[in-house]
Symmetry: C2
Subunit: 334 residues, 2 copies
Amino acid sequence: MTIIVDAMGGDNAPDEIVLGAINAAERQNINVTLVGIEDDIRKAMERTGIRKLPENLTIVNASEVIDVKDDPSTAIRTKKDSSLTVGFKLLRDGHGDGLVSAGSTGAILAGATLIVKRIRKVRRAALAPVIPSTTGRFILIDCGANAECTPEYLVQFAYMGAFYARDMLKINSPRIGLLNNGAESTKGTPLQLETYDLLKKTELNFIGNIEAKDAMKGGCDVLVCDGFSGNVMLKSIEGAASLVVSELKTMFFSGVSSKIAALLLKKKMLGLKQKLNPDSTGGTALLGISKPVIKAHGSSNAAAISSAIAQAVREAESDVASKLTDNFNKMPPV
Amino acid sequence: MTIIVDAMGGDNAPDEIVLGAINAAERQNINVTLVGIEDDIRKAMERTGIRKLPENLTIVNASEVIDVKDDPSTAIRTKKDSSLTVGFKLLRDGHGDGLVSAGSTGAILAGATLIVKRIRKVRRAALAPVIPSTTGRFILIDCGANAECTPEYLVQFAYMGAFYARDMLKINSPRIGLLNNGAESTKGTPLQLETYDLLKKTELNFIGNIEAKDAMKGGCDVLVCDGFSGNVMLKSIEGAASLVVSELKTMFFSGVSSKIAALLLKKKMLGLKQKLNPDSTGGTALLGISKPVIKAHGSSNAAAISSAIAQAVREAESDVASKLTDNFNKMPPV
């Protein structure tokens, strides 16, 4: 099992990516291929105090870097020696079982689609993060790969999400909800209204429209939406969680009794922070691509990269992409 | 100053609404007109232990109730003796300076638009809640009155939001952000792309695209969006906040040291809960209507109703609706 890691993508690249990849190589029973500017990777090792590479980690040099400002499709096509382009070609050609990048979502999507290719019949790949809820967790699909969607895309997202929930979260008959601004079947824009009718006709366990707050109370296992709304939901949760954490910090550092309480709670607060932190659950699966591709959070640190690598391993081991391919071959046309 | 209160709308009607209205009449220097089924209102008073109505509170009987399941526009037109229809007619005819309802958003919007009417030139009324951020607060407009929007509506929301921020939040040159799935000007669907270009041309202090998490960090004073995305954002914040509160409760009740910590923090936790609770900041203004209309949260209790009434008073006192009318008369066509 080999996981390809883009050393140059993300706010903390290359240092944290290199460190995370090395940690994963040392602790997980896998090979890691680190793709990027070799000189920068070596310097990152020096800065983080690592003298020797683990034997199961290989560096593949790639002289270019795709910047967040670059147009994704153009960059993937023209920067032929970028870490992402080289990494995706390695994945396509069978030199790896999965790829992890904390780079720009657009570039990862473009690279995965143009080089590794979508599963046959899949119209659009979708980002599917696992979100914590009061009673467990659920899959949000799509959370930003496709700002504009058709009802057909959304039905395909529902199929992919359902499959992923069954295979990776071990939920037998996942409850599929459609993100909407109310539970009534008349709610939403034409996109939601048409998708509702189409989902009703599938054999999926479609439970109807769900509001964001009800999904977070455990109202469904897969929450289907267009990438724009999904992104708004994901970023709002992130924003609300940091607001609460910042308020808690202010609270804990005002007055003696609060400081004592903070000490008593220290360990548990860390646990809570971890549960609310999207990085600790690994990265986000890009579903619909013929091989496992994981988008790590842009602000990933070494621990987040390690956990995204672990997620790529789980996806590769359970062979989600091949099973999805079979699934789509059998899927009735929308 | 008289505030009209719909006694029959909301999950906790009529008891909590009646109690909230009575509290407001007793503590705020205003008159309150409570509209609804008089018999039900009297019974609610009995149940909540109130024997005598304050002198500054009047009951206006209305024999019908608009249900959440009713089609909003049809219900406003056909249920001529519903609490909302009667209440809005009182407001239109000058028998009150503002109206508060915890009823269905659709019915409030339909009633306000059909009976009280929009301000001239305003294409759509919009819901504009005040949301807490790490550094203060911001206005989210629209959060659910209009699932489908045009760029022109969004530009008008920006004007209304800016005006409200100046007049009610006392922010001199409010920073207007456009809710988007990234900060770059190329992000979003055609709606965001076109709105971006239009907002650039206005004299508003438009600072560009803003992601939900950055708005929650205090990145702007007015966050403009279509009602569908705004609703997703609002409900996601609500969901995330209740997830955190539920996790904190679990944490506080596991183990002796945590229980001690919980006791030490009790008062401050209540303060935090209140800051995160949308009800404590009052209701949500429906902007663009020719008189003040406040939508209280569907799950409002008596305290939430009182604070929504206080907000209606503030809006009526500062004469926001008339000022908005002047503003729109001077506004260049979009």
